[in-house]
Structure formats: C-alpha cells, structure tokens
Point group: C2
Chain length 330, copies 2
Amino acid sequence: MHLLVTGAAGMIGRKLLDRVAESGLPGGVPVTAMTLADVIEPDVAVGFGGSRTCVTADLSQPGTAERLIAERPDVIVHLAAVVSGEAEADLEKGYRVNLDGTRALFDAIRLAEDYMPRVVFASSLAVFGAPFPERIADDFHLTPLTSYGAQKAMGELLLDDYSRRGMLDGVGLRFPTICIRPGKPNKAASSFFSGILREPLNGQDAVLPVGDDVRHWFASPRAAVDFILHAAVMDTSVLGQRRSLTMPGLSATVADQIEALREVAGEDAIARIRREPDPDVARIVAGWPRDFDTARAREAGFRAETSFRQIIDVYLEDEMGGREPGAPAA
Amino acid sequence: MHLLVTGAAGMIGRKLLDRVAESGLPGGVPVTAMTLADVIEPDVAVGFGGSRTCVTADLSQPGTAERLIAERPDVIVHLAAVVSGEAEADLEKGYRVNLDGTRALFDAIRLAEDYMPRVVFASSLAVFGAPFPERIADDFHLTPLTSYGAQKAMGELLLDDYSRRGMLDGVGLRFPTICIRPGKPNKAASSFFSGILREPLNGQDAVLPVGDDVRHWFASPRAAVDFILHAAVMDTSVLGQRRSLTMPGLSATVADQIEALREVAGEDAIARIRREPDPDVARIVAGWPRDFDTARAREAGFRAETSFRQIIDVYLEDEMGGREPGAPAA
C-alpha cells in the first residue's frame, strides 16, 4: 500500500504520517511506501521503515500533480491548502492553490490509465455560512462567506463529480475546529480556543477575548488523524453520490473548556486566563457555527471526543512529554 | 447603457437581444450599445439603432474576456455554456467552457480598475440532485448529479464570492425547463415536453415517451427573457450574500399540458400525440424535480406564467406568425 500526502509538513500532516509510520492504516493494512509533498521540506515520519519519498513542490504548478502520482499511490490524502485568512487576503493565491491545485491533482488522476485511488479531501466547515440553525444538518445548503469556504465547496463539487464518474474514489472531510493545537498562538480569530487551555497547561498566561457562553465545535488533532485514517480504508458505497461529510465533534462553550481545565490543572491554571473582551473577535466568532448533526458521519464509522476532558487528555498524552499540567516546559 | 451578452446566438440570447433592440431595459432604461459574443456569428438584433459589436470568440481562450469587457459594459448577461449532454460526454470541454470560461470573465472584471458591472449568470436547476422533497426550497442543498450541474454550482459559488468582495454585482438565475422551445426536436431527454405541444400546433405528429402523470417545472422563453431583464436592473441589496435564485415557474403534469392544448387547438391536435413509452426516458425524467418554492425570487420581483394555457399563448403569439393553431407552416 502506497500513501501520498499533500500538505505533509502541516500540523495534521505530520501527526498523520508519524502515526502511519508507527502503525500503518486501520485494520492492519501495511503501508510500504509514502510520498510526502509540501511547499516546504516535509521533515516527518523519518523513522518510517518503507520507501519514503519527499517532494518539495506546489501542486498548482504544471507537472507537479503528474509527478506526485507517477508511482500510482493507492491512497491520496489531500491536505495542502492556503488557510482562510491568507485566501481572503490574497484572492489569486487562494484560488490558485485551493481550487487549481485540487483540480490539477484530480485531473492528473483522471488522465492516468487504469487508476482509481482513494482520495481523502480536507474540506472545511467554512463551506457553510450564517445564518445558521442552532444545530446544522449535513445537508444544510452551501453558503460560504469566505473565499476559502467557496474554494473548499468547489473542491467538494469536483470530488463528487469525479467520484460519480468513476475517476477517483473520494471522501471529503469537514473538520471541526482543532483543539488543542500544539505550539504558539497564531493570528487566527479562533486561536484563543486552544490558547486558554494550552498556555495554562504550560504554566503561561492566556487571553480570553470573548464571553464564557460562546459555543463552538471541536475535536482533537488525534481525532482529526483518526478521521483521515478511517476515510482512507472505509467502504465508500455508504456515501452514495454525496462524498463529503461533516465530521463528528464536541459542541462546547468556553465555560465547558474552563471547567475541564480546572479538573485537570486546578485553580492556579484557571487564574492564568485573563479576560480581555475584544469586540472584533466577539463579532467574528458570533458568525461561527455552534453545533452540528453528524449522524451521517457517525453511521459511516467516524468518531470523536465526547467531552473537553478527553480533548485535554489527548494534549497531555501527545504534547506534554510527561510534564505535570501547569508546569512550564524546560 | 452598454449591454454585453455571451452566448448571444443561442435561443434565449436571440430573444433577449431582439427584445432589448426593440424596447431597451425595464423602466425605460435606454441601451445605446450592445456587445454580442458567441462561438458562432450572433446574427441577431440586426435592427438595433445603437452601437452593435459582434465578437466571434470562445471565452475560455486567453484574452477573450478582456476583449469583451474592454468598453466596460454596464450589464453583462453570461449565457454562454456547453449544455448538459455535451458536458457529460466531454468532461474537459464542459469544465473549460462552463467553469474556466465563467471564471475568465469574472477575473477580467475583477482586474479591470474602477469597474463593477451587474452580472446576470445563467445557472440551472441541475445544481440540485435527487432525492428531492416534493417541493424544493431555494435553500435545498447543492447536490448536482451531472458535470454540467457541478459546473453551474461552481459558477454560483464564484458569483457569490466575487459579489461579496465587491468585484462584481451578481445575480444567478436557475431557469425552469423552457417550454415551448421553438424549432426542431433535439436529443435532450426533455425534448418531448415542448414537442407534444409544438408539433400538434404546427399540424405535425409528436411522440410522448412518458406517462400523463409525469410532473415537471416550466416557464416560457418569454418568461426567461423577462427574468434576465429584471435581473439586469433590480435592486440586488435584497439578495444579501446569496446571489442565486430559483426562478418562478409552473409545476404541471403532461396531462395538464395536453388539456391546455385541447383548449387551444381541439381534439385533432390531441390526436397527433402518439404514446410510445420509453423506459429510458421515463427513468431519466423520474430523477427530475417536480416543484419548487420560489418565494425568494417572487419577493425579489420575478414573475412567470401560472397556467399552461398562458405558456401556449406565448408560443402562438411569438412563434406562429398569425397562423391558426394546428395549421402546418407554409
């Protein structure tokens, strides 16, 4: 089994490849070859025992997609994308990478003879746009309010069309907001959702720019990797013509997050959260979805965390290297 | 006021341009210049008194879009498309014309300085796919089951995104099945819906391949032109971020069609309809929508026929040149 991952150097790509290097695909499917593609050198899964090829390339450039599939990978995980903020700031780059890059990959597959790989496409909740019902069904209409969301929705349409025509075997995954993201805060408006847990767990202060009653939709990085691995091996006949699915997640408030942090790390950790209301962030977050009905994905076998305690435990196990919660890194 | 029409040589394009040449845009807005674009010479609106420029060109070819908007038309009606059957038979041509051509036009507009024209985009009910509810709401999810439908849905997403970003002022129109189409039968599975009326009205025999209880969604060619003219001048602020609308139409059965024909042309005309059940056509038509809730479009001022008698009367007035119903053309 040969696995190709685009966007291999990103946070999810790294975790996915490390997991595959360690234990293959679900159901004991062995991976004997990996192709790792990204615009920067994907320095991951270095301990992998099989054939490991790194390609530093931009999918939207002519010839790149053909090169990536030259060895006919059985499973392709397409994570490469320009993120939301950048796609909004640079319209041309967003369409070039998120639409043209995806289409170049799908077309290279289409034009290869006797070839129909499984393609796992990273889509996004950004395909949906407000106004929302309190709980958003899988068949809520596509109304993206960002260029990134429009590009991902177009990718879903391509995935459906090419799958229907038997040119590839696609599964599109709309990921929840990933929490707790490891590493440093970033400029995304959602950054605080990870920060108010991650920073106190590491003995640092964090800023909370919104009210405790703000509700959002979450899963851990580990759950995100689980989604991809399941999509790589699942029976796609259950999907019919609709190849994209809203992934399971946890609908939780900031208060739920803080309560789980208190349980794990005590009052000292809570005291590190500084409330600094930011009307701009509050306004952005007010337009975000709060809860989803993911019956379709759960019936298809996808699973995620069901409490914020579980989400924090994933961080402790995968990122803290055995340190006590609340202790600064050495 | 300068009007650009792509796909100007098609049936709707011709009728639109003849109407504009005669009476301008609604509300007495005068049209002083027209640019007519198509892959074949658009030999229409020849009596137009203003400046009339014909361009024989393919929008998906580099430089064409820039050429078409060089004079900064105030209103652009984008009808050019590869039809459903051809887009299914030739995937590359369908994506090139229906997606790349549309994007080339929108990008040329985006890159032109100080320019934000009204853009009327011809979308399609093919953006929706079965299974359907009995009556399909405007916010039913996009699930195209043809490449044509996928391309039109992607065009709608582009139109929304570029409108949201202030690069153009878009209105997307999802047309009903147009009936009665003038001219000869064609190979479309829907051809009989026009044929069972048009042929008897012209003293010829027609074949009905499905049962009398088959229900579908219709408007006349004249209503289609009315939709475009209204979209060209309407106040788009009522659309918010969702620029595409399911146009009003008439939900009617084959039996309703035949009854209206009887009223207009009598038993002799009815006797010209020969029932030859075709399971292939019946199967295709069974997957088509039967009824739509078009409250949004009606609130925005769009109107269509409310009986099949009206639809037939449009044909008599616009296509029969004063002949009696049932009389063969000279």
